[in-house]
């Protein structure tokens, strides 16, 4: 059983001062095995903070990231699942399912995690999942100012993924859960 935290678009310090306090208190080291970050952190301090939560940190590069060494896309294998990571500003139209599915096929992943739209979305698509964790700080996007801070936590266990969605609405953390089962074992490795 592996817990994977996925979050992105923090835009610290440009659009938000910090993660919401409620999120910060929930994110404690020791529970999470991997962190997937879709980019736009944007400064190194945030990177360091994420490292404190879990040393196994994967980041794709957003357009505002200062650190240019982050890759545009990244794929990692966790258990039976192959997870693809991309910020999403490269995929146009932004947040479009078909375009994302294309990227998903391109990367040949079961779970594609993208960001950039600052809106939480999750699609089950062609035997895979396309997820956008939204903005963890609730920073405004270039599309909308109405953003609720949110991130997701994936509980990967064998062929099963349970996605917990944490969203801060009116100062309260709402948790939702999405189940996803993979039918066949991946041929990834």
């Amino acid at each position: 059983m592996v817990l994977v935290l996925a979050l992105g678009d923090l835009h610290i310090p440009h659009r938000a001062p910090d993660l919401p306090a409620k999120f910060k208190s929930m994110l404690v080291p020791g529970k999470i095995q991997h962190i997937i970050c879709t980019g736009n952190l944007c400064i190194k301090e945030v990177h360091d903070y994420l490292k404190t939560l879990c040393p196994d940190l994967h980041i794709a590069r957003g357009e505002y990231d200062e650190d240019s060494r982050y890759p545009e896309t990244k794929t990692i294998t966790i258990g039976q699942f192959k997870v693809g990571l991309c910020h999403g500003h490269q995929v146009i139209p932004w947040g479009d399912l078909d375009s994302l599915a294309m990227l998903q096929r391109q990367l040949d992943v079961d779970i594609l995690v993208t960001g950039h739209t600052h809106q939480f979305t999750a699609y089950k698509h062609e035997g895979g999942v396309v997820i956008n964790p939204g903005s963890a700080t609730g920073a405004h996007s270039s599309i909308t100012y109405d953003v609720n801070p949110s991130f997701i936590l994936m509980d990967i266990d064998g062929l099963r993924v349970v996605v917990y969605v944490y969203e801060l609405i009116d100062g309260e953390v709402k948790v939702d859960k999405i189940d996803f089962k993979k039918t066949t074992a991946t041929t990834a490795n």
Partner: protein
């Protein structure tokens, strides 16, 4: 998978157990079942039928299964079961400790800790405990237990308590499988085969003889098939069949031994062991940091148990106790480890199981009549046995512990318990100690345990004896030093006389001996009365001493060695009552065993045993260490009390001491001996002022007589000699302590049995006290002996140094060094401050050089610095300069000379 599981045949036999328990355990061959009964898992009443056992077992298994279902649930499955749990609470990041995820993370943490320990559990290659199945089982059981007892939690060591339990179960199950293979038909459903059964019985008769020989395992396979009736099987096998017959009663009852339910059974055993099953010894207490009764003033149970152990030690063996106390070896330093895993770290698994057999066989129920303030560990027979076992282990190490000069080395010995111990002996002693522990606990505990409770005990008889001040530390020193000395002296002389006469005539002639002692005594009294002619007397005495010495020499040749003499003393005391011809043969056999002077525990034990045999041969006393000792003492006392001439005794004792030292000198004559002889003789002065004079004069005589002997001895001999000294000192110490212990036992006995007549008590007490005092003196002597070793070492070191210095230095510097050395030589090691004394040993010098080299290595070589290169260059430069210096100087002088005198 179970490659290394011992086959049934390799199981340790348990003669000790069956021989010593009052009742032969019902399942003596099925250790796991027996343990379960002992631990209170299964009903212990002999009337409990196999069905009862099965029923209880099934209950435990059911309980465990449901517990496991409840506690070790996965958060996923849990959520699936319950409909729509509150996600706000039940999510992985939830802060709520009550959430299933919170529990999950806690369990994971615990599991990690447990796994870490399990990986290191008997990690030998291919060990049974390292197989995945066993690891999983261990982990689950430990987890379950910890979850069930959150107040205890997991502590290191618990896994080592559990491992033997599982192992025992596995061994028995393996045995079951084997038996099942052999006697297959008994395990099949018999309802259909009733007819077959009948027919078998008819010709059963023919095979009677075969079934008798069935016991031998080699044939059993063939014959087993013939022995078809259940009652024909030997009882062990029958037991197994009965216990594991699934159709024995209602089919719902489980079988008692089953691989499938090993985990369940192991858990029930573990839980019973940890909780003590309503008894007084609960292993879980040993792991807790909190006082058992919840009050603040008491210490945690394990600390209390350690204190109890030391208390017991002080009763049984006060010298060792005070020695350890002096070193600052706290009992919990090693007891924590011993008690928490019930000696699991100190013994191999096979041995451990035998010990556990004994421990578990003891009743764990609380003893009601006890003082509630007493040590908890003495509260039950099992606890007392555990303490006694620990004590027996300490006593086993006693010689080396007494030899330890610093706490670290003592602890090293305690924590590296030798592997090749005689287990039976250890357990036997523990048993006798257990009785003592229970008694001591109940009698002594009534008083507050300050650790010095020995004080009041000896007072009873001490007061009648002496008006001298009591030593604050040891309960044994109730008597003026001189008094005991006399006794000792007397004994010694008697024995010596015996031996002497034996050597001359091989027959005991007590009267002759008497005459001899009388003569000596006369000369000595004169010496004392008139100090000025003492010198002449001493000369005469010296002459006589030579005569005596030659006699002794003969004797010792006969006996094989002269070092053994003092070693035999305890036995001699015993044997004095016998004919001397018997004695000498017996003694000589013993002496030879002591010949090399290496005194280890085994030999001590040998003495014990010998005396044991001896005592039992005389059928005077029951067989046990305690009683043997007491018999010894009785003999001793008799001897002591016989003597009445008290004022003469001082002299006699003196003489004896000299003789004793003398023998030393003879045996390993050398410079050091005589030198140190002088030193040692000075030391005892304060302790018996009346005797001072004599001692001094005598010692001077001794020095003189020794002089010729030691002039030509080499270094090698020095070394030998030092070794012998040390050994002698140690052996003496040891024997003294043995006797002392015996006294204490005797005291105990005297106290316990108030029915004895008062007069007898007084008599015995008198004798004891004197003998005790004598022992103390002996101790002093042996201490001096060991001191000698140090001094001798230093001398040797200095001499070596001198030699080297002479070779290496220039003339000038040699002069300076010589002066320096002369200065040093004047000093006694005793004058040196103690920290310098330490630095004089060769070991220390070697070590410090080694250390320096290591430092250099670490600092320069390993850092691949250039410095060593410079050092070498510089050193070479200095060296070459030094080499060239004298030449250069001569040259310069020559030049100057030439200049002064103008030209060549």
């Amino acid at each position: 998978m179970f490659d290394d599981m011992p086959a049934v045949s390799s199981r340790p036999e348990l003669p000790v157990k069956s021989a010593t328990l009052d009742v032969t355990p019902r399942f003596k061959d099925l250790r796991s079942v027996q343990w379960r009964i002992d631990l209170g898992v299964l009903p212990s009443s002999p009337s409990a039928s196999t069905d009862d056992l099965r029923r209880v077992t099934a209950d435990y298994r059911r309980r465990y299964a449901s517990l496991r279902r409840r506690l070790l649930s996965d958060p996923h499955t849990f959520k699936d079961g319950s409909n729509m749990p509150d996600l706000a609470m039940d999510n992985p990041l939830s802060q709520n400790p009550e959430s299933s995820w919170g529990r999950f993370f806690r369990n994971a943490e615990l599991e990690k800790m447990v796994c870490q320990d399990l990986l290191r559990l008997y990690p030998e290659d291919g060990s049974y405990f390292q197989t995945p199945g066993c690891q999983g089982m261990l982990r689950r059981i430990l987890l379950m237990w910890c979850l069930r007892h959150p107040q205890n939690g997991y502590r290191q060591g618990m896994h080592e308590l559990l491992a033997p339990l599982i192992y025992v179960l596995q061994v028995d199950i393996n045995r079951l499988c084997e038996v099942r293979e052999l006697y297959e038909e008994h395990f099949t459903d018999k309802f259909d085969e009733l007819s077959v059964h009948e027919s078998d019985l008819t010709y059963n008769f023919d095979y009677k003889k075969f079934s008798k020989s069935m016991d031998s395992p080699s044939k059993s396979n063939e014959n087993a098939r013939k022995a078809t009736s259940l009652s024909d099987l030997d009882t062990d096998v029958q037991q197994i069949v009965l216990l594991s017959d699934p159709y024995g009663a209602e089919s719902e009852l489980g079988i008692l031994l089953s691989e499938k339910f090993m985990e369940h059974d192991a858990y029930s055993m573990f839980e019973a062991l940890m909780s003590g099953a309503n008894g007084s010894v609960a292993m879980a207490d040993f792991f807790s940091h909190l006082p058992a009764d919840g009050t603040n003033n008491s210490s945690p149970p394990v600390i209390e148990a350690s204190t109890a152990l030391y208390h017991l030690l002080s009763v049984v063996d006060s010298p060792l106790h005070s020695h350890l106390n002096e070193l600052g070896v706290e009992p919990q330093y090693f007891c924590l480890r011993w008690l928490r895993v019930l000696f699991g770290r100190e013994f191999k698994l096979v041995d451990l199981m035998v010990i556990w057999d004994e421990i578990f066989a003891r009743d764990n129920s609380k003893i009601e009549s006890r003082d509630p303030d007493g040590f908890a560990i003495f509260g039950s027979a099992r606890g007392a046995f555990i303490a006694a076992m620990a004590l027996s282990m300490i006593l086993y190490l006693r010689p080396s512990l007494l030899g330890a000069e610093i706490a670290t080395s003592a602890l090293q010995r305690l924590l590296n318990f030798p592997q090749n111990v005689d287990l039976k002996k250890l357990i036997r002693r523990a048993k006798s100690l257990q009785v003592l522990a229970l008694n001591a606990a109940s009698t002594l505990m009534a008083h507050p345990l300050t650790g010095e409770l020995d004080h009041r005990k000896p007072n009873v008889r001490g007061h009648s004896m002496s008006s001298d001040s009591l030593s604050p530390k040891s309960p044994l020193s109730l008597v003026p030093d001189s008094y005991w000395e006399e006794k000792w002296r007397v004994l010694h002389k008697e024995e010596e006389g015996l031996r002497r006469t034996g050597s001359e005539k091989r027959a005991p002639i007590p009267s002759k001996k008497k005459g001899w002692t009388e003569k000596i005594r006369a000369s000595l009294t004169r010496t004392e009365s008139d100090p000025s002619p003492a010198q002449t007397k001493n000369v005469r005495k010296g002459l006589r001493a030579t005569v005596r010495r030659s006699l002794l020499e003969d004797l010792s040749r006969q006996l094989g060695s002269d070092e053994g003499i003092e070693d035999i003393i305890p036995q001699d005391k015993c044997s004095n009552e016998n004919t001397s011809s018997q004695d000498s043969s017996w003694v000589s056999s013993d002496t030879s065993s002591f010949l090399n002077g290496a005194v280890d525990a085994e030999k001590l034990n040998a003495i014990y045993d010998d005396s044991e045999n001896y005592a039992s041969g005389e059928s005077r006393v029951p067989i046990s260490d305690v009683t043997v000792d007491s018999s010894l003492i009785m003999a001793l006392n008799d001897n002591c009390i016989d003597k009445e001439e008290k004022n003469v005794k001082d002299q006699k004792l003196l003489l004896g001491k000299l003789q004793w030292l003398w023998r030393f000198g003879r045996g390993h004559a050398s410079e050091e001996t005589s030198d140190k002889g002088g030193v040692t003789m000075e030391d005892p002065k304060p302790s018996y002022p009346e005797a001072n004079q004599n001692i001094e004069t005598e010692s001077s005589v001794m020095d003189e007589t020794h002089k010729p002997c030691h002039s030509g001895k080499g270094d090698g001999q020095d070394l030998n000699m030092m070794g012998t000294f040390k050994n002698l000192g140690q052996s003496m110490l040891e024997h003294i302590q043995v006797i002392e212990t015996a006294f204490q036992f005797q005291q105990e006995r005297a106290q316990v049995g108030p029915l004895e007549s008062f007069s007898k008590n007084v008599l015995v007490g008198k004798g004891q006290v004197t003998a005790v005092a004598a022992l103390k003196e002996l101790r002093k002597i042996s201490n001096l002996l060991s001191e000698m070793t140090v001094v001798a070492l230093t001398h040797k070191f200095l001499r070596e140094t001198e030699g080297r210095v002479r070779v290496c230095t220039e003339e000038n510097s040699e002069m300076a060094m010589r002066q320096f050395y002369n200065e040093i030589r004047g000093m006694k090691v005793k004058d040196l401050p103690s920290h310098l004394k330490l630095m004089c040993s060769q070991d220390y010098v070697k070590k410090s050089i080694q250390r320096g080299l290591d430092n250099y290595h670490a600092k320069y070589i390993q850092t691949s610095s250039v410095d060593p290169l410079f050092h070498v260059c510089f050193g070479g430069m200095v060296f070459s300069y030094l080499v060239a210096l004298p030449e250069e100087r001569r040259h310069l002088e020559h030049q100057q000379h030439a200049k002064e005198h103008g030209g060549h």
